[in-house]
Subunit: 281 residues, 2 copies
Protein backbone atom coordinates (compact mmCIF):
# COMPACT_ATOMS: atom_id res chain seq x y z
CA UNK A 1 0.00 0.00 0.00
CA UNK A 2 1.01 3.58 -0.52
CA UNK A 3 2.07 5.44 2.60
CA UNK A 4 -0.71 7.94 1.87
CA UNK A 5 -3.47 5.31 1.65
CA UNK A 6 -6.14 6.04 4.30
CA UNK A 7 -7.21 2.39 4.22
CA UNK A 8 -4.21 1.25 6.22
CA UNK A 9 -5.02 0.38 9.85
CA UNK A 10 -4.36 2.39 12.97
CA UNK A 11 -2.14 0.15 15.10
CA UNK A 12 -2.46 0.04 18.89
CA UNK A 13 -0.24 -1.94 21.21
CA UNK A 14 -0.03 -2.82 24.87
CA UNK A 15 1.53 -5.44 27.10
CA UNK A 16 -1.84 -7.18 27.38
CA UNK A 17 -5.54 -6.36 27.32
CA UNK A 18 -5.30 -3.03 29.18
CA UNK A 19 -4.81 -1.11 25.93
CA UNK A 20 -8.28 -2.26 24.93
CA UNK A 21 -9.55 0.56 27.15
CA UNK A 22 -7.79 2.93 24.72
CA UNK A 23 -9.04 1.00 21.69
CA UNK A 24 -12.55 1.32 23.12
CA UNK A 25 -12.32 5.12 23.08
CA UNK A 26 -11.02 5.03 19.50
CA UNK A 27 -13.91 2.76 18.43
CA UNK A 28 -16.39 5.18 20.00
CA UNK A 29 -14.95 8.32 18.45
CA UNK A 30 -13.38 7.14 15.19
CA UNK A 31 -15.45 4.09 14.21
CA UNK A 32 -14.68 4.57 10.52
CA UNK A 33 -11.03 3.53 10.90
CA UNK A 34 -9.61 0.01 10.68
CA UNK A 35 -7.69 -1.08 13.79
CA UNK A 36 -4.92 -3.57 14.39
CA UNK A 37 -4.27 -4.32 18.07
CA UNK A 38 -1.24 -6.17 19.39
CA UNK A 39 -1.12 -7.50 22.95
CA UNK A 40 2.37 -8.60 23.98
CA UNK A 41 0.86 -11.07 26.40
CA UNK A 42 3.84 -13.46 26.27
CA UNK A 43 5.96 -10.80 27.99
CA UNK A 44 3.21 -9.37 30.23
CA UNK A 45 3.47 -7.59 32.63
CA UNK A 46 5.67 -4.71 31.50
CA UNK A 47 5.57 -2.99 34.90
CA UNK A 48 8.54 -4.92 36.25
CA UNK A 49 10.74 -4.71 33.13
CA UNK A 50 13.80 -2.44 32.78
CA UNK A 51 13.76 0.63 30.51
CA UNK A 52 16.21 -1.09 28.15
CA UNK A 53 13.93 -4.13 27.87
CA UNK A 54 10.88 -1.97 27.24
CA UNK A 55 12.71 -0.03 24.51
CA UNK A 56 13.71 -3.27 22.80
CA UNK A 57 10.17 -4.66 23.00
CA UNK A 58 8.65 -1.44 21.63
CA UNK A 59 10.99 -1.33 18.63
CA UNK A 60 10.29 -4.98 17.75
CA UNK A 61 6.54 -4.45 17.99
CA UNK A 62 6.72 -1.26 15.93
CA UNK A 63 8.55 -3.11 13.16
CA UNK A 64 5.94 -5.88 13.19
CA UNK A 65 3.07 -3.37 12.99
CA UNK A 66 4.76 -1.30 10.27
CA UNK A 67 5.21 -4.51 8.27
CA UNK A 68 1.44 -4.87 8.52
CA UNK A 69 0.92 -1.45 6.94
CA UNK A 70 0.13 0.56 10.08
CA UNK A 71 -0.55 4.22 9.22
CA UNK A 72 -0.19 5.36 12.84
CA UNK A 73 1.21 3.75 15.98
CA UNK A 74 -0.52 4.21 19.33
CA UNK A 75 1.45 3.10 22.38
CA UNK A 76 -1.46 2.18 24.66
CA UNK A 77 0.79 1.18 27.52
CA UNK A 78 2.03 3.64 30.12
CA UNK A 79 5.12 1.64 31.06
CA UNK A 80 6.24 1.41 27.42
CA UNK A 81 5.45 5.07 26.76
CA UNK A 82 7.32 6.21 29.85
CA UNK A 83 10.41 4.16 29.01
CA UNK A 84 10.48 4.03 25.25
CA UNK A 85 8.58 6.82 23.47
CA UNK A 86 11.58 8.97 22.46
CA UNK A 87 13.56 5.94 21.27
CA UNK A 88 10.54 4.59 19.45
CA UNK A 89 9.88 7.89 17.69
CA UNK A 90 13.50 8.11 16.61
CA UNK A 91 13.39 4.56 15.24
CA UNK A 92 10.11 5.02 13.35
CA UNK A 93 11.23 8.39 11.95
CA UNK A 94 14.21 6.56 10.45
CA UNK A 95 12.44 3.53 8.99
CA UNK A 96 8.92 4.89 8.28
CA UNK A 97 8.99 8.70 8.31
CA UNK A 98 5.37 8.89 7.14
CA UNK A 99 4.12 7.21 10.35
CA UNK A 100 3.45 9.12 13.59
CA UNK A 101 3.85 7.57 17.03
CA UNK A 102 1.48 8.64 19.78
CA UNK A 103 1.90 7.70 23.43
CA UNK A 104 -0.04 8.06 26.62
CA UNK A 105 1.15 10.05 29.72
CA UNK A 106 1.08 13.55 28.21
CA UNK A 107 -2.63 13.73 27.43
CA UNK A 108 -3.90 12.49 30.77
CA UNK A 109 -1.47 14.75 32.61
CA UNK A 110 -2.96 17.77 30.81
CA UNK A 111 -6.48 16.48 31.54
CA UNK A 112 -5.66 15.97 35.21
CA UNK A 113 -4.24 19.46 35.67
CA UNK A 114 -7.29 20.92 33.95
CA UNK A 115 -9.65 18.85 36.11
CA UNK A 116 -8.02 19.54 39.46
CA UNK A 117 -9.33 22.48 41.48
CA UNK A 118 -6.69 22.16 44.19
CA UNK A 119 -3.60 21.19 42.17
CA UNK A 120 -3.23 18.09 44.36
CA UNK A 121 -3.12 15.21 41.89
CA UNK A 122 -2.60 11.50 42.50
CA UNK A 123 -1.02 8.89 40.27
CA UNK A 124 -1.55 5.14 40.37
CA UNK A 125 0.86 3.36 38.02
CA UNK A 126 3.22 0.45 37.61
CA UNK A 127 6.63 0.35 39.28
CA UNK A 128 8.33 1.02 35.94
CA UNK A 129 6.13 4.00 35.16
CA UNK A 130 6.53 5.64 38.56
CA UNK A 131 10.29 5.01 38.49
CA UNK A 132 10.57 6.69 35.09
CA UNK A 133 9.36 10.00 36.51
CA UNK A 134 7.47 10.57 33.25
CA UNK A 135 4.27 11.72 34.94
CA UNK A 136 6.07 13.98 37.39
CA UNK A 137 7.74 15.71 34.43
CA UNK A 138 4.54 15.83 32.34
CA UNK A 139 2.47 17.31 35.16
CA UNK A 140 5.18 19.85 36.03
CA UNK A 141 5.39 20.85 32.35
CA UNK A 142 1.71 21.78 32.39
CA UNK A 143 1.62 23.35 35.86
CA UNK A 144 4.81 23.70 37.88
CA UNK A 145 2.74 24.48 40.98
CA UNK A 146 0.78 21.21 40.84
CA UNK A 147 1.66 18.62 43.47
CA UNK A 148 1.75 15.00 42.30
CA UNK A 149 1.53 12.11 44.78
CA UNK A 150 2.68 8.94 43.00
CA UNK A 151 1.94 5.40 44.16
CA UNK A 152 3.54 2.39 42.50
CA UNK A 153 1.13 -0.55 42.41
CA UNK A 154 3.10 -3.80 42.01
CA UNK A 155 1.08 -6.63 40.46
CA UNK A 156 -2.18 -4.70 40.19
CA UNK A 157 -2.24 -4.92 36.37
CA UNK A 158 -1.62 -8.66 36.61
CA UNK A 159 -4.37 -9.16 39.15
CA UNK A 160 -6.82 -7.24 37.00
CA UNK A 161 -5.87 -9.13 33.84
CA UNK A 162 -6.05 -12.56 35.47
CA UNK A 163 -8.99 -12.32 37.85
CA UNK A 164 -12.51 -12.01 36.57
CA UNK A 165 -13.80 -11.51 40.08
CA UNK A 166 -12.70 -8.86 42.53
CA UNK A 167 -11.61 -10.61 45.71
CA UNK A 168 -11.29 -9.35 49.27
CA UNK A 169 -7.54 -9.59 48.78
CA UNK A 170 -7.59 -7.36 45.69
CA UNK A 171 -9.83 -4.88 47.47
CA UNK A 172 -7.42 -4.77 50.43
CA UNK A 173 -4.50 -4.24 48.04
CA UNK A 174 -6.29 -1.40 46.28
CA UNK A 175 -7.22 0.25 49.58
CA UNK A 176 -3.56 0.16 50.54
CA UNK A 177 -2.52 1.81 47.28
CA UNK A 178 -5.18 4.49 47.62
CA UNK A 179 -4.43 5.33 51.28
CA UNK A 180 -1.55 7.76 50.53
CA UNK A 181 -3.73 9.53 47.96
CA UNK A 182 -6.51 9.98 50.49
CA UNK A 183 -4.02 11.27 53.04
CA UNK A 184 -2.62 13.73 50.49
CA UNK A 185 -6.14 15.06 49.86
CA UNK A 186 -5.95 14.73 46.08
CA UNK A 187 -9.02 15.70 44.06
CA UNK A 188 -7.91 14.07 40.80
CA UNK A 189 -6.23 10.70 40.21
CA UNK A 190 -4.47 9.68 37.01
CA UNK A 191 -5.00 6.01 36.22
CA UNK A 192 -1.47 5.65 34.90
CA UNK A 193 -1.86 2.12 33.55
CA UNK A 194 -4.36 1.19 30.85
CA UNK A 195 -5.51 -1.79 32.93
CA UNK A 196 -6.78 0.34 35.78
CA UNK A 197 -9.93 1.75 34.13
CA UNK A 198 -11.18 -1.84 34.18
CA UNK A 199 -11.61 -1.53 37.97
CA UNK A 200 -12.75 2.10 37.94
CA UNK A 201 -15.88 1.33 40.00
CA UNK A 202 -13.77 -0.18 42.80
CA UNK A 203 -11.29 2.71 42.65
CA UNK A 204 -14.07 5.30 42.74
CA UNK A 205 -15.58 3.66 45.83
CA UNK A 206 -12.20 3.54 47.54
CA UNK A 207 -11.17 7.11 46.69
CA UNK A 208 -14.55 8.67 47.37
CA UNK A 209 -17.04 10.75 45.44
CA UNK A 210 -15.05 13.98 45.25
CA UNK A 211 -12.19 12.45 43.31
CA UNK A 212 -12.11 12.63 39.51
CA UNK A 213 -10.48 9.65 37.78
CA UNK A 214 -8.59 10.48 34.58
CA UNK A 215 -7.64 7.72 32.16
CA UNK A 216 -5.30 7.44 29.21
CA UNK A 217 -7.97 6.60 26.67
CA UNK A 218 -10.01 9.75 27.21
CA UNK A 219 -7.86 12.17 25.26
CA UNK A 220 -6.27 9.71 22.83
CA UNK A 221 -9.06 9.75 20.23
CA UNK A 222 -8.65 13.49 19.67
CA UNK A 223 -4.87 13.06 19.30
CA UNK A 224 -5.35 10.27 16.77
CA UNK A 225 -7.87 12.30 14.78
CA UNK A 226 -5.52 15.30 14.76
CA UNK A 227 -2.52 13.21 13.66
CA UNK A 228 -4.42 11.54 10.82
CA UNK A 229 -5.84 14.86 9.65
CA UNK A 230 -2.40 16.49 9.65
CA UNK A 231 -1.13 13.70 7.36
CA UNK A 232 -4.31 13.67 5.27
CA UNK A 233 -4.76 9.95 5.88
CA UNK A 234 -7.92 9.82 8.02
CA UNK A 235 -11.03 8.17 6.65
CA UNK A 236 -13.99 10.56 6.42
CA UNK A 237 -16.15 10.77 9.55
CA UNK A 238 -19.62 9.29 9.14
CA UNK A 239 -18.41 6.68 6.65
CA UNK A 240 -18.99 2.95 7.07
CA UNK A 241 -17.66 1.24 10.15
CA UNK A 242 -14.14 -0.07 9.93
CA UNK A 243 -12.83 -3.41 11.07
CA UNK A 244 -10.69 -4.49 14.00
CA UNK A 245 -8.37 -7.43 14.42
CA UNK A 246 -6.03 -8.71 17.07
CA UNK A 247 -2.54 -10.09 17.43
CA UNK A 248 -1.25 -11.68 20.63
CA UNK A 249 2.23 -12.93 21.41
CA UNK A 250 0.81 -15.26 24.05
CA UNK A 251 -2.09 -17.70 23.97
CA UNK A 252 -4.77 -16.55 21.53
CA UNK A 253 -7.68 -18.16 23.38
CA UNK A 254 -6.77 -16.51 26.69
CA UNK A 255 -6.51 -13.17 24.94
CA UNK A 256 -9.93 -13.63 23.38
CA UNK A 257 -11.58 -14.49 26.69
CA UNK A 258 -9.92 -11.65 28.62
CA UNK A 259 -10.50 -9.16 25.83
CA UNK A 260 -14.19 -9.95 25.41
CA UNK A 261 -14.69 -9.70 29.16
CA UNK A 262 -13.00 -6.33 29.45
CA UNK A 263 -14.01 -4.64 26.21
CA UNK A 264 -17.56 -6.04 25.88
CA UNK A 265 -16.61 -6.56 22.28
CA UNK A 266 -16.79 -9.87 20.44
CA UNK A 267 -13.11 -10.41 19.77
CA UNK A 268 -13.49 -12.88 16.89
CA UNK A 269 -10.27 -14.41 15.70
CA UNK A 270 -6.97 -13.61 17.34
CA UNK A 271 -3.76 -14.28 15.45
CA UNK A 272 -0.95 -15.67 17.53
CA UNK A 273 2.38 -14.10 16.59
CA UNK A 274 5.52 -15.76 17.88
CA UNK A 275 8.50 -14.11 19.52
CA UNK A 276 10.84 -12.84 18.20
CA UNK A 277 8.22 -10.95 16.26
CA UNK A 278 8.21 -11.55 12.53
CA UNK A 279 8.63 -8.33 10.62
CA UNK A 280 6.71 -9.63 7.61
CA UNK A 281 2.94 -9.94 7.75
CA UNK B 1 -34.91 -0.58 66.83
CA UNK B 2 -36.48 2.83 67.12
CA UNK B 3 -37.81 4.26 63.88
CA UNK B 4 -35.49 7.24 64.41
CA UNK B 5 -32.36 5.13 64.80
CA UNK B 6 -29.83 6.10 62.10
CA UNK B 7 -28.15 2.71 62.42
CA UNK B 8 -30.91 0.93 60.54
CA UNK B 9 -29.94 -0.06 56.97
CA UNK B 10 -30.90 1.59 53.72
CA UNK B 11 -32.70 -1.13 51.76
CA UNK B 12 -32.35 -1.47 47.99
CA UNK B 13 -34.18 -3.98 45.83
CA UNK B 14 -34.20 -5.12 42.23
CA UNK B 15 -35.29 -8.12 40.21
CA UNK B 16 -31.66 -9.27 40.04
CA UNK B 17 -28.16 -7.84 40.03
CA UNK B 18 -28.94 -4.74 37.92
CA UNK B 19 -29.77 -2.70 41.01
CA UNK B 20 -26.18 -3.18 42.11
CA UNK B 21 -25.37 -0.34 39.68
CA UNK B 22 -27.53 1.85 41.94
CA UNK B 23 -25.99 0.39 45.09
CA UNK B 24 -22.57 1.20 43.64
CA UNK B 25 -23.45 4.89 43.41
CA UNK B 26 -24.73 4.83 46.98
CA UNK B 27 -21.53 3.18 48.21
CA UNK B 28 -19.47 5.86 46.44
CA UNK B 29 -21.43 8.82 47.77
CA UNK B 30 -22.80 7.62 51.11
CA UNK B 31 -20.25 5.04 52.31
CA UNK B 32 -21.11 5.67 55.95
CA UNK B 33 -24.53 3.99 55.66
CA UNK B 34 -25.35 0.30 56.14
CA UNK B 35 -27.03 -1.31 53.13
CA UNK B 36 -29.34 -4.28 52.73
CA UNK B 37 -29.84 -5.38 49.11
CA UNK B 38 -32.50 -7.82 47.95
CA UNK B 39 -32.37 -9.39 44.48
CA UNK B 40 -35.62 -11.14 43.56
CA UNK B 41 -33.70 -13.49 41.31
CA UNK B 42 -36.23 -16.32 41.63
CA UNK B 43 -38.75 -14.20 39.73
CA UNK B 44 -36.26 -12.48 37.41
CA UNK B 45 -36.81 -10.96 34.88
CA UNK B 46 -39.46 -8.41 35.78
CA UNK B 47 -39.62 -6.96 32.27
CA UNK B 48 -42.22 -9.44 31.09
CA UNK B 49 -44.46 -9.38 34.19
CA UNK B 50 -47.84 -7.66 34.40
CA UNK B 51 -48.33 -4.45 36.42
CA UNK B 52 -50.47 -6.40 38.92
CA UNK B 53 -47.73 -8.99 39.41
CA UNK B 54 -45.09 -6.29 39.86
CA UNK B 55 -47.23 -4.49 42.46
CA UNK B 56 -47.70 -7.74 44.40
CA UNK B 57 -43.96 -8.51 44.29
CA UNK B 58 -43.02 -4.99 45.40
CA UNK B 59 -45.37 -5.07 48.40
CA UNK B 60 -44.07 -8.47 49.55
CA UNK B 61 -40.47 -7.32 49.25
CA UNK B 62 -41.20 -4.07 51.08
CA UNK B 63 -42.71 -6.01 53.99
CA UNK B 64 -39.66 -8.29 54.14
CA UNK B 65 -37.28 -5.32 54.15
CA UNK B 66 -39.30 -3.37 56.73
CA UNK B 67 -39.22 -6.47 58.94
CA UNK B 68 -35.43 -6.22 58.70
CA UNK B 69 -35.51 -2.64 60.03
CA UNK B 70 -35.05 -0.75 56.75
CA UNK B 71 -34.98 3.01 57.34
CA UNK B 72 -35.51 3.82 53.65
CA UNK B 73 -36.61 1.77 50.63
CA UNK B 74 -34.95 2.28 47.26
CA UNK B 75 -36.68 0.62 44.31
CA UNK B 76 -33.65 0.07 42.08
CA UNK B 77 -35.68 -1.51 39.31
CA UNK B 78 -37.29 0.51 36.56
CA UNK B 79 -39.99 -2.05 35.76
CA UNK B 80 -41.08 -2.20 39.42
CA UNK B 81 -40.93 1.57 39.82
CA UNK B 82 -42.95 2.16 36.66
CA UNK B 83 -45.65 -0.32 37.67
CA UNK B 84 -45.72 -0.17 41.43
CA UNK B 85 -44.32 3.01 42.97
CA UNK B 86 -47.66 4.69 43.85
CA UNK B 87 -49.11 1.46 45.27
CA UNK B 88 -45.91 0.78 47.17
CA UNK B 89 -45.84 4.26 48.68
CA UNK B 90 -49.45 3.94 49.74
CA UNK B 91 -48.76 0.57 51.39
CA UNK B 92 -45.61 1.72 53.21
CA UNK B 93 -47.30 4.93 54.35
CA UNK B 94 -49.94 2.74 56.01
CA UNK B 95 -47.68 0.17 57.67
CA UNK B 96 -44.46 2.15 58.26
CA UNK B 97 -45.17 5.88 57.97
CA UNK B 98 -41.63 6.76 59.12
CA UNK B 99 -40.10 5.11 56.02
CA UNK B 100 -39.74 6.85 52.65
CA UNK B 101 -39.84 5.00 49.33
CA UNK B 102 -37.65 6.25 46.49
CA UNK B 103 -37.88 4.99 42.93
CA UNK B 104 -36.01 5.45 39.70
CA UNK B 105 -37.51 6.98 36.49
CA UNK B 106 -38.04 10.55 37.72
CA UNK B 107 -34.42 11.40 38.48
CA UNK B 108 -32.94 10.15 35.22
CA UNK B 109 -35.70 11.84 33.25
CA UNK B 110 -34.75 15.18 34.81
CA UNK B 111 -31.07 14.45 34.16
CA UNK B 112 -31.77 13.55 30.54
CA UNK B 113 -33.76 16.71 29.83
CA UNK B 114 -31.00 18.79 31.44
CA UNK B 115 -28.32 16.99 29.41
CA UNK B 116 -30.01 17.15 26.02
CA UNK B 117 -29.20 20.12 23.80
CA UNK B 118 -31.73 19.16 21.12
CA UNK B 119 -34.63 17.84 23.23
CA UNK B 120 -34.44 14.57 21.28
CA UNK B 121 -34.08 11.90 23.94
CA UNK B 122 -33.96 8.13 23.60
CA UNK B 123 -35.09 5.45 26.03
CA UNK B 124 -33.94 1.84 26.20
CA UNK B 125 -36.03 -0.14 28.70
CA UNK B 126 -37.88 -3.38 29.30
CA UNK B 127 -41.20 -4.17 27.67
CA UNK B 128 -43.04 -3.56 30.97
CA UNK B 129 -41.36 -0.19 31.52
CA UNK B 130 -42.01 1.10 28.00
CA UNK B 131 -45.61 -0.16 28.14
CA UNK B 132 -46.20 1.71 31.41
CA UNK B 133 -45.56 5.06 29.76
CA UNK B 134 -43.81 6.19 32.94
CA UNK B 135 -40.83 7.73 31.17
CA UNK B 136 -42.97 9.48 28.56
CA UNK B 137 -44.91 11.10 31.39
CA UNK B 138 -41.82 11.91 33.45
CA UNK B 139 -39.99 13.51 30.52
CA UNK B 140 -43.09 15.48 29.48
CA UNK B 141 -43.52 16.69 33.07
CA UNK B 142 -40.04 18.23 32.95
CA UNK B 143 -40.17 19.53 29.37
CA UNK B 144 -43.37 19.19 27.35
CA UNK B 145 -41.42 20.09 24.20
CA UNK B 146 -38.95 17.22 24.56
CA UNK B 147 -39.36 14.33 22.14
CA UNK B 148 -38.85 10.83 23.56
CA UNK B 149 -38.12 7.86 21.31
CA UNK B 150 -38.74 4.68 23.32
CA UNK B 151 -37.40 1.25 22.43
CA UNK B 152 -38.48 -1.88 24.30
CA UNK B 153 -35.61 -4.36 24.60
CA UNK B 154 -37.01 -7.84 25.25
CA UNK B 155 -34.54 -10.17 26.97
CA UNK B 156 -31.66 -7.70 27.11
CA UNK B 157 -31.58 -7.64 30.92
CA UNK B 158 -31.57 -11.45 30.95
CA UNK B 159 -28.75 -11.64 28.44
CA UNK B 160 -26.68 -9.18 30.44
CA UNK B 161 -27.32 -10.98 33.73
CA UNK B 162 -26.56 -14.44 32.35
CA UNK B 163 -23.69 -13.87 29.93
CA UNK B 164 -20.27 -12.91 31.19
CA UNK B 165 -19.06 -12.44 27.64
CA UNK B 166 -20.57 -10.18 25.02
CA UNK B 167 -21.34 -12.32 21.98
CA UNK B 168 -21.84 -11.40 18.33
CA UNK B 169 -25.51 -12.21 18.85
CA UNK B 170 -25.86 -9.80 21.77
CA UNK B 171 -24.05 -7.12 19.80
CA UNK B 172 -26.42 -7.62 16.85
CA UNK B 173 -29.40 -7.43 19.23
CA UNK B 174 -28.15 -4.20 20.76
CA UNK B 175 -27.46 -2.66 17.35
CA UNK B 176 -31.06 -3.44 16.41
CA UNK B 177 -32.39 -1.75 19.55
CA UNK B 178 -30.20 1.30 18.99
CA UNK B 179 -31.06 1.74 15.30
CA UNK B 180 -34.32 3.70 15.88
CA UNK B 181 -32.49 5.99 18.31
CA UNK B 182 -29.78 6.72 15.74
CA UNK B 183 -32.44 7.39 13.11
CA UNK B 184 -34.25 9.74 15.48
CA UNK B 185 -31.04 11.69 15.99
CA UNK B 186 -31.19 11.60 19.78
CA UNK B 187 -28.32 13.23 21.72
CA UNK B 188 -29.18 11.66 25.09
CA UNK B 189 -30.26 8.13 25.94
CA UNK B 190 -31.86 7.06 29.21
CA UNK B 191 -30.72 3.60 30.27
CA UNK B 192 -34.15 2.73 31.62
CA UNK B 193 -33.18 -0.57 33.23
CA UNK B 194 -30.59 -0.87 35.97
CA UNK B 195 -28.92 -3.76 34.11
CA UNK B 196 -28.01 -1.65 31.10
CA UNK B 197 -25.15 0.39 32.63
CA UNK B 198 -23.32 -2.93 32.83
CA UNK B 199 -22.92 -2.83 29.04
CA UNK B 200 -22.42 0.94 28.79
CA UNK B 201 -19.18 0.57 26.77
CA UNK B 202 -20.98 -1.47 24.10
CA UNK B 203 -23.93 0.94 24.05
CA UNK B 204 -21.62 3.96 23.76
CA UNK B 205 -19.84 2.39 20.78
CA UNK B 206 -23.14 1.56 19.12
CA UNK B 207 -24.76 4.95 19.71
CA UNK B 208 -21.70 7.01 18.88
CA UNK B 209 -19.59 9.62 20.65
CA UNK B 210 -22.10 12.47 20.62
CA UNK B 211 -24.68 10.62 22.68
CA UNK B 212 -24.80 11.05 26.46
CA UNK B 213 -25.93 7.99 28.42
CA UNK B 214 -27.95 8.70 31.55
CA UNK B 215 -28.45 6.00 34.17
CA UNK B 216 -30.72 5.54 37.15
CA UNK B 217 -27.95 5.36 39.71
CA UNK B 218 -26.49 8.76 38.93
CA UNK B 219 -29.02 10.89 40.74
CA UNK B 220 -30.18 8.39 43.34
CA UNK B 221 -27.47 9.09 45.91
CA UNK B 222 -28.52 12.73 46.19
CA UNK B 223 -32.16 11.70 46.62
CA UNK B 224 -31.24 9.22 49.35
CA UNK B 225 -29.11 11.80 51.17
CA UNK B 226 -31.94 14.34 50.98
CA UNK B 227 -34.53 11.87 52.23
CA UNK B 228 -32.39 10.75 55.17
CA UNK B 229 -31.57 14.34 56.09
CA UNK B 230 -35.23 15.34 56.00
CA UNK B 231 -36.04 12.57 58.49
CA UNK B 232 -32.90 13.23 60.54
CA UNK B 233 -31.83 9.59 60.21
CA UNK B 234 -28.68 9.83 58.08
CA UNK B 235 -25.35 8.84 59.55
CA UNK B 236 -22.83 11.71 59.61
CA UNK B 237 -20.72 12.05 56.45
CA UNK B 238 -17.05 11.21 56.95
CA UNK B 239 -17.81 8.62 59.62
CA UNK B 240 -16.62 5.04 59.49
CA UNK B 241 -17.62 2.91 56.53
CA UNK B 242 -20.87 1.03 56.85
CA UNK B 243 -21.59 -2.56 55.97
CA UNK B 244 -23.51 -4.18 53.15
CA UNK B 245 -25.29 -7.50 52.95
CA UNK B 246 -27.38 -9.32 50.42
CA UNK B 247 -30.57 -11.31 50.19
CA UNK B 248 -31.55 -13.31 47.12
CA UNK B 249 -34.77 -15.20 46.45
CA UNK B 250 -32.95 -17.45 43.96
CA UNK B 251 -29.68 -19.34 44.22
CA UNK B 252 -27.25 -17.57 46.56
CA UNK B 253 -24.11 -18.79 44.81
CA UNK B 254 -25.25 -17.56 41.40
CA UNK B 255 -26.08 -14.19 42.90
CA UNK B 256 -22.66 -13.94 44.47
CA UNK B 257 -20.85 -14.76 41.22
CA UNK B 258 -22.94 -12.39 39.11
CA UNK B 259 -22.82 -9.64 41.69
CA UNK B 260 -19.07 -9.77 42.15
CA UNK B 261 -18.58 -9.71 38.38
CA UNK B 262 -20.82 -6.70 37.87
CA UNK B 263 -20.12 -4.63 40.95
CA UNK B 264 -16.40 -5.39 41.38
CA UNK B 265 -17.25 -5.81 45.02
CA UNK B 266 -16.54 -8.87 47.11
CA UNK B 267 -20.08 -9.99 47.83
CA UNK B 268 -19.30 -12.14 50.86
CA UNK B 269 -22.22 -14.10 52.17
CA UNK B 270 -25.62 -14.00 50.52
CA UNK B 271 -28.67 -15.09 52.46
CA UNK B 272 -31.21 -17.09 50.50
CA UNK B 273 -34.75 -16.02 51.34
CA UNK B 274 -37.56 -18.27 50.18
CA UNK B 275 -40.78 -17.27 48.46
CA UNK B 276 -43.31 -16.31 49.68
CA UNK B 277 -41.06 -13.86 51.48
CA UNK B 278 -40.95 -14.19 55.23
CA UNK B 279 -41.92 -10.96 56.89
CA UNK B 280 -39.88 -11.71 59.98
CA UNK B 281 -36.11 -11.38 59.89
Amino acid sequence: MSPRDPDRPVAVFDSGVGGLTVLHELLVRLPQEDYLYLGDTARFPYGDKTPAQLRAFALQIADALLARDAKLLVVACNSATAAALPALREHVAAVAPHVDVLGVVGNESRLAVAASATGRIGLLATVATVASGAYARAVADVDPAAHLTSVACPDLASQIQDDAIVTDEMLATVRGYCAPLREAGVDTVILGCTHYPLVAPMLQRTLGPGVRLVSSGEAMAASVADALAARGIGRPAGGPEGTYRFLATGDAETFRAQGARFLQLPIGSVEHVGLPLEVTA
